[in-house]
């Protein structure tokens, strides 16, 4: 151990003795993370094995990168990867700024009761499961008995009405819009909390200096939000390959599978329907490695631009 390390260790021991009850309270969380987050990572080994449930992890033979070779050779995997990137990037591009915009707009609402009502209305969809949302979409968009079709027919429209849930051309838009509706509002909580923490005297000073509402928003609100935005962006970029299994599994069907099948749904097909646990793990590991790489790259870029930003 170097001198610096010894000093760090000593400081930790001292702090642990002094604040032992805080460390004690930390213990359940640590145990949870170790048991449920790190220990299962041992399962990653089956991506490199010809895994048999009955032989177990250890007795299953190693096959190197065979599972990855097989996986990348499958046209369905290539299609899932392509869809995954498209849907993931779409969600990032449209889904990331939405809560920021909503937060800024909400912050400008001066009437508290109205602000709270809007906030509740946009946060609530987050608590509805994708299965229920799928039912709602079916009830609204179905060409047979759908509400929208009913309304259009009621007003005398006799033309063709596309079935958006079974139409390849529009299906990704349905995925994106339902995603924005469900999750757009929830992320505003963090931004509104960050906005609430901004020193009000900055606004007062800016007002005295003659800054308008837009200038205050740009130079004070958005500037103060920058570290929060960067941190959430880094975390969001890491999830870009998680294109939303719950949503797509619930809403997908044979007519749109070619534009909707993502890696996670493909992993489900491989693992749960075809019993190819090794290949499914390989696919899962692949997207997670990409996610980690993206986090590291984004973090690096963020720190280059602003050394105060970034996660680590």
């Amino acid at each position: 151990m170097t001198g610096a390390q010894i000093s760090l260790w000593k400081r930790f021991c001292k702090s642990a003795r002094q604040y032992w009850w805080f460390y004690f309270m930390l213990l359940p969380g640590l145990i949870y993370i170790v048991v449920f987050r790190y220990a299962p990572m041992y399962g990653i080994t089956i991506a490199f094995k010809n895994y048999s449930v009955f032989k177990g992890f250890d007795a299953s033979p190693w096959v190197g990168f065979d599972n990855f070779t097989k996986l990348f050779g499958r046209a369905a995997f290539q299609r899932a990867l392509y869809n995954n990137v498209i849907i993931g990037v779409e969600k990032l591009i449209f889904g990331f700024p939405l809560p920021i915009i909503l937060s800024l707009m909400l912050n400008e609402v001066r009437k508290n009761s109205l602000k709270r009502t809007i906030q509740t209305a946009i946060i609530l969809p987050n608590f509805i499961s994708w299965i229920v949302i799928n039912g709602l979409l079916f009830a609204m968009l179905g060409t047979n008995n759908g509400a929208i079709v009913g309304v259009m027919r009621f007003f005398g429209y006799v033309g063709e009405i596309p079935n958006l849930l079974a139409d390849k051309e529009h299906f990704r838009a349905v995925i994106l819009l339902s995603y924005l509706w469900k999750s757009g509002g929830y992320a505003t909580i963090i931004y509104l909390a960050a906005i609430a923490g901004i020193d009000q005297s900055l606004y007062e000073a800016a007002e005295i200096d003659g800054a308008g509402r837009l200038q205050q928003l740009w130079h004070i609100t958005l500037s103060s939000l920058r570290p929060t935005i960067v941190m959430l962006l880094i975390m969001r970029v890491g999830e870009v390959m998680n294109a939303g299994f719950d949503q797509i599994y619930a809403i997908s069907n044979y007519l749109v599978v070619s534009v909707a099948d993502i890696i996670e749904t493909y992993v489900y097909t491989l693992g749960m329907e075809s019993r190819k646990f090794s290949e499914a793990t390989a696919a899962g590991l692949f997207i997670n490695v990409i996610g980690l790489t993206l986090v590291l790259i984004t973090n690096h870029i963020a720190k280059k631009i602003d050394p105060e930003s970034g996660l680590m």
């Binding site: 449930v53 009955f54 079916f138 060409t143 599978v257 075809s274 019993r275």
Partner: protein, 494 residues
Amino acid sequence: MKKTLCMLLALLMTLSLVPTFATADELPEITWMITGSGTTSDENNMVLQKIGEAIGAKVNVIQVAPGDEDVKLNALIAANTLPDLFVADLADAQQFINEGMLCPLDEFLSDNGSEILAQVGEKLPKMPANQMDGSIYMIPGASADFMENLNVRVDWLKKLGLEMPTDLDSLYNVLHAFTYDDPDGNGQNDTVGIVLTMAQTNQWENLFGAFGIPYNKPCQLEDGTVTSYFKHPHFLECIQYLRKLYQDGVMDPDFATMPAMTAHEKLWSGACGVYGFRDVGVTNNWYPGRYTFECPEDPSEIFGFAQITGPYGDCGSVAQYPKLTTGMVVASTCKNPDAVVRLINYLFTEEGDNLTYLGVEDVMYRWIDKEAGKYERLNEYVDDAVHRANGGFTYWMNMPEDNAQLRTMNALTQQGQAEQQLHAIDYPYITSTIEAETEYGTLLDQIVKEATAQLIVTKGDVEAEYKEFVTRWENEGGLEYEAEATAAYAAQVK
């Protein structure tokens, strides 16, 4: 005070262990995974209790929605918590046997399987799964499966002055009239000619059959190649016919997204005029309990069966063969295989067969004329949902050849099955395992389903898209499947 509370809590916790000790000496427990019939039965219902009493074991049932069996089983496999008893096909069974996942049943059969041996004893050694290492692993039902009928609302035909359709043109005319001519006479546009769903194979068999295609089965091409029905030379013609039905609005447009139960409900609610499904459900088991419109006592006043002949003279649904490649298997992790074999054996007995099909005698039903197969449901069990929630029909596995369903089937249903057997679409029934099917089967099947749905609705070039799907199917393991299946079938018929 604290001390007293602690003592009290400790005492309560100790007492909670008592029932555990008490049950330890009670009945052995077994788990049984079955496919649900739309209504989930209450746990520990009357029928299950009776089964438990008969076999001397507590039976815990895992009921799975139709179509979800594989996913559920694979999840249980991944968790290493296999049910003791479940149904497997040959490809799965062979893999399970190689992995040591299945229990050899020979010694248990000789001790507890008298009915099994009496009814399917000769069949057991002929099953490929039972030829792998000389042990018996798979127990089949004694009877073949039912044929799929094309059920037509004859009351609607009568009302609209139409004849029973016999070919594709007359079927189209009937479907058109059923959709647009208000066949139920309620003045509303609330009916549709035919309901099809990708969630089930039953609905499609007779339509594909009219083109000589064994839907969802292998077919043999002129050069002897055994391949998927997807590559049948008339496949695209059938798709063109289905496209016409779709485009003209005479089939339900939600066919690709509709769950199986929703499709059934369209029949039960009187919204659909033609429905492909075994008449055993349509005119027997569901009739009249499941229907929400007024049903006369005689189902022939409502339903009849169509045999649709296609351009090449083909007609019917997929042929049914004696079960050699599918059956009940017992997990090697099962702690009470003797009790499981007792359960299977019980399902082969008349008592077990009647109980699982009709329910508890004199409580849920009573015989009017047992010899003639006439019975009546009692009290609240007249309602199908109540009957099934209490275990009626739920655990029935169609095991004995002379089973309760056959004995109690009404005349129309018997007639429908008899007629349909005259119109069976034959296919190469392969009784050995195809490795490529185990390896690629699910993925290939998904390509075919995707292709079928997509080709019916596409606005693009159907032939070009079909060719693309065929190429994809071939490249994803289809060619390997073809080579193996062709060789296996050639060896089998030699």
